[in-house]
Structures are given as C-alpha cells and as structure tokens.
Amino acid sequence: MIEVRNLTKYYGPHKAVDNLSFTVERGQIYGFLGPNGAGKSTTMNILTGCLAATEGTVLIDGHDILEDQIAAKKCIGYLPELPPLYPDMTPREYLMFVGEAKGLSGAELRKAVAYVCKRTSIEDVANRLIRHLSKGYKQRVGIAQAILGNPEIIILDEPSVGLDPTQIIEIRDLIKDLAKERTVILSTHIMQEVTAICNHVLIINKGKLLANDTPENLSDILMDRTSFDLVVKGDSVKVLNAVQAVKGVLSASILDTEGDTVHVLVDCAKDADPEEDIFYALSDARCPIIKIERQEMTLEQVFIRITSQNIDTITETDSDKEDN
C-alpha cells in the first residue's frame, strides 16, 4: 500500500528524518510512536505530499507522491497535527468544500458529508461556525475531513489530542472500524493508544526507525526473562527458600510483607514455565498462594528501553530473532 524507501529530510543543517524505510500493508493499523521532535509529523507530511523529502521515495499504491501526486493523493485522507480548518465556515460548508476538492459532487457529496458527520458525531454542530467550536469538536471535524470520500489510506497525526475520554474511545472504535477495509496510520505518544488499537508499531527517535513490529513481538524481543508477581501466605524465609529451589527460577526477592502475607517478585529464564512447579513447591512448604501473576512488559517499558538504547543493539536483537 505504502512503500517508503531511504527517506531523508533536512531542515537546513538539521536532519529531521534519517534514512527511513518501511512498507505498510493493507487493512492494518500502524502506530507511529516516538517522543516529541522524533520526526513523526515530518514523516507524515512527507507521506501525504505536504513536504518533499530531501532524499528517498514514497510510493502510495504504486504512485510516486511527487511524480504522480494527484493519483497518489486521491488514496489519502490526512489529519495534520493541527486540524486544518477555516474558522469562518461551518463544518458542513467545510466538509462540502473538502469533498468537492476530493472530486465528489451532487448527491454523492451530500451523502458522504452526512455519513462522516454521523461517524464523528458532529451533526449537532454541523451548522455552527467552526470558530465557535470547542477543541474536541474541531478535532472531530478534522477527522471527518480526513475520512471523507473513503480514501484507501487514512493518516492521522495525534488523532486523540483534545478529546475527552468517551470521545477517545469513540474515535478508537471508529479507527478500528475504518481499518476493516482500509489502512490507517496514526501517530501518538500515548502508549495505551498503540496497545489498544494498533496491530503494528513503528518506533522512531531522532528521525531513525528503531523498531518495526507488532506490539506483542516487541515486548517479546525485549524480554530476556519472565517475571512473576507472587503473593503468598507464610513465613518470608520459608517462602523464599521454597521458590528459589524451583528449577528455572533465576532469582526471587521480597518486595514487602503485610501481616502474614509476603509479596515476592520472581525472575525466571525466558522460556521457563515454572508456574506449576512454584505452586507445588509452596504447597509442600505449607505456604498457600494468594495470587500469582505473569508480568507482561508494557509497551511503555519497551518504548523507554528502545528510545534510550543504542540502535545497534536493537538491530542485533532483531537479527537474533530472525535466526531463531
């Protein structure tokens, strides 16, 4: 669907995007993750033809974004960082304008506008001036504009900014729904958003692509060990001795004790599966387990580790994984 090859962008001497290459498949939700100033917006502006890259090419459905811009842009709906709205128009007028510019007309145009107004729930404010709308509504008009005319690829730069929690859930559902037949690329710095809706994550920092994988794989790659959170009733020394004796357990440490319960963090080898063994060991020691929970590495931890890590190590981990 989208093919990005060796994309580099300089702003004067500053390198905003550094040799970025990736491909985007149809029907997936891609999350662009990165700290502020990582080059997310720049990359999105290049993908949508708002900005020309210093080097490299972008192919949208086989059309070069610069050489064959009309055909390429017909496939794209774009919501930039700040929703590009004309304050002196009403959302309806504005959407009619955008629709017309996208090549819709007549009944088809009115139908498309009515549809997106409904999908983004802006029907109530459709005839008010955009100038007078709240930030959340403005954001939704911006999203409506991007999905107008059913483009194949929808690119959203921080779509949930300025929305309240209910609206965020609504918009996430909308994005998931849209991705059934279309491709969605969104940028965000909110981890939960990526975990909640994306089936692919691209992590970039300082213009470089650091990781390109599914959220699950990313946490797998970075997890060299599995951790368990254990709450056990019994004497702390007895519990510790019992757990440490189990095969596959690398270390166990007591986090705190509360009355007669002990809270233990158990680190195991990556491929070990010691839940059962721990259960029997503690049962033999007459220390009943209150709670046992496998700790998943959250994307947040992955993100922090990746962005603060040396790039070479990531590539190594990637190739290791391929070898396996």
């Binding site: 033809g49 708002c50 842009k73 774009y78 590009p84 004309y86 128009m89 304008f97 510019a101 996208k102």
Partner: protein, 287 residues
C-alpha cells in the same frame, strides 16, 4: 480548482475586509463621479477613473494580503497540499476568486456611463476602453499582491510590502521625471535595485548563496559598463522606471488611445506573478 474558487469567493462575503473594500471603492468612485460629472459637468467618465487610481494603493493590499498568507497561518495549506489538487489549480482558484470579487464593484461602476449618457453626450469608446484598462491594471496589481502574500504567513507584513510596491509603481512616472539622466545616478539606482532584488530572492529561497551571486554579478556588470562607457547608462534608470510603471500605461486609454502593447503588458505582468505565486506555493514543500 472549482472547489477552491467557490470557497475563496464566498469567504470575501463573510469577511469584513470584502465589505470594506466594496464600500470604499463605491464611495470614492461615487464622490469623484458627482464632483466631475455633476458639479463640473465634464462628460468624461475616464477622468473619474484617472483620478481614483490612488485608492488602489490601499484597496489592492487589503484584498490580497490574506490570499495565501492566511492559509499558512491557519495551517490549511497542509489540507490543500494533501488534497488531490496541483499548486497551479490552488493558486488559479484563489486568483480568480479574488479577481471576480474585485470585479463586482467594477461591474457596478460600468453602469455609470449609461446613466451619464442620459444627460448628455459621452465618448463610449474612450470611456469603456479606460474601464477595461482599469480592470487589467487591477488584475496585474492583484497578482502582484497575491505573490507578496505568498512570501509570508504574516498578513500585516504582506499588506505593508504590497502598499510599498503598489506605491512604487504608482509613483513610477513621477519618480522617473525627477531622477536626473546622469549616468552616475543611474548606476547608483541600479546597484540599489540589484540589492533589493537580492534581498527578495533571499526571502523567497531562504538561501544566502544565490542572492549573493546575483547581486555580485549584477553589480560587477554595472561597474564594468560604468567604467568602460558610462554614456550607456545615461537616462536608463528613469526609462526603466517608466517601463515598470503600471499606472503610467492607463494614461494612453484616458487620452483616447487604445494601446495594445499596454494590454499585452498588463496581461504579461498578471501571468508572470501568478506563475511566481505557484512557484512560491510549491517551494513551501521544499523548505
């Protein structure tokens, strides 16, 4: 192009500036018409046109200042760029909307000669060819104003530069008359002009090398000519000022000459500045 045209054209009606323009235009023309035609009893509407040209110094910039600059400010240029439209279509849509709105009050004043004709004899050919020249002159000034608006995202800066540029072309003939035809004066004026052009290039390209080369080549060339045979420079600057004076050309029409080179001149200036605006909009992508 149709969508851009419609949006831009409508925006002049919701915008205070559109109303101010129409009100000032019609008031000034009405005032001069009543004084010239009804008080002094001249049957020449072309004199009215000749006297109201000064108002373009203000009216053109207030209409053109927002054309492209506003999109940059509102970030709607990103929307326009991501829509399946070429820069040419975007700029042409904007320009024709601007021109069409501009021409509405012009169309109203085109009716005045018909009213005047009811009370006496008028020179139809001169009157309407002057009105046509006035519209062509305005079209050229609007294109220049739009180009200036495309260089900045600040509407006030765009307006001030446009006022200065229109003022310069307005005073062109008068300045040409007072500048002596001495080669040294021409030399100095050309050097200043070369530096001004280089500054403009610098602001357009945000690149120091090209303007430095341009000004260096221009100044070196001028200096060589000046020291080899300075008679070549005698009177050239005033002549060039006359050539650049857009307002000077309309006088032919007021005197009753249907001057085709002037018409071509106006159309060429319009086309040139529309082309430059397209380049300037396109260039934003490469910044």
């Amino acid at each position: 192009m149709g969508a851009i045209f419609k949006r831009e054209f409508k925006s002049y009606f919701t915008n205070l500036i559109g109303a101010i323009y129409a009100a000032v235009f019609l008031t000034v023309v009405g005032l001069y018409t009543s004084v010239y035609i009804f008080d002094y009893a001249y049957p020449n509407f072309e004199y009215v046109i000749g006297s109201i040209l000064f108002m373009l110094i203000i009216l053109v910039p207030i209409l053109t200042m927002r054309t492209v600059a506003e999109d940059r400010k509102l970030k709607t240029d990103q929307l326009l760029m991501s829509l399946p439209l070429t820069s040419t279509k975007i700029v042409l849509g904007k320009y024709f909307a601007l021109l069409c709105f501009y021409l509405i009050p012009c169309a109203i004043i085109c009716l005045y000669p018909l009213i005047i004709a009811a009370f006496g004899e008028i020179f139809w050919g001169t009157t309407y060819s002057t009105l046509m020249a006035f519209m062509l002159l305005s079209a050229a000034l609007l294109a220049i104003g739009m180009f200036i608006s495309s260089l900045t995202e600040n509407q006030i800066v765009a307006a001030i530069i446009s006022v200065l540029v229109v003022l310069f072309t307005y005073l062109g003939t008068s300045i040409a008359d007072i500048i002596p035809s001495d080669p040294t004066i021409s030399y100095i004026c050309f050097v200043v002009l070369a530096l001004l052009v280089s500054t403009l290039i610098y602001f357009m390209m945000k690149n120091i090398l090209v303007p430095v080369i341009v000004s260096f080549v221009a100044i070196a060339g001028l200096t060589i000519v000046f020291f080899l045979d300075n008679t070549l420079l005698a009177g050239t600057f005033p002549a060039m000022m006359n050539w650049f004076s857009l307002f000077g050309k309309i006088d032919y029409f007021i005197y009753g000459i249907f001057d085709i080179p002037s018409i071509i001149y106006y159309i060429s200036v319009t086309a040139l500045f529309i082309f430059l605006t397209i380049q300037s909009v396109d260039k934003k992508r490469w910044s």
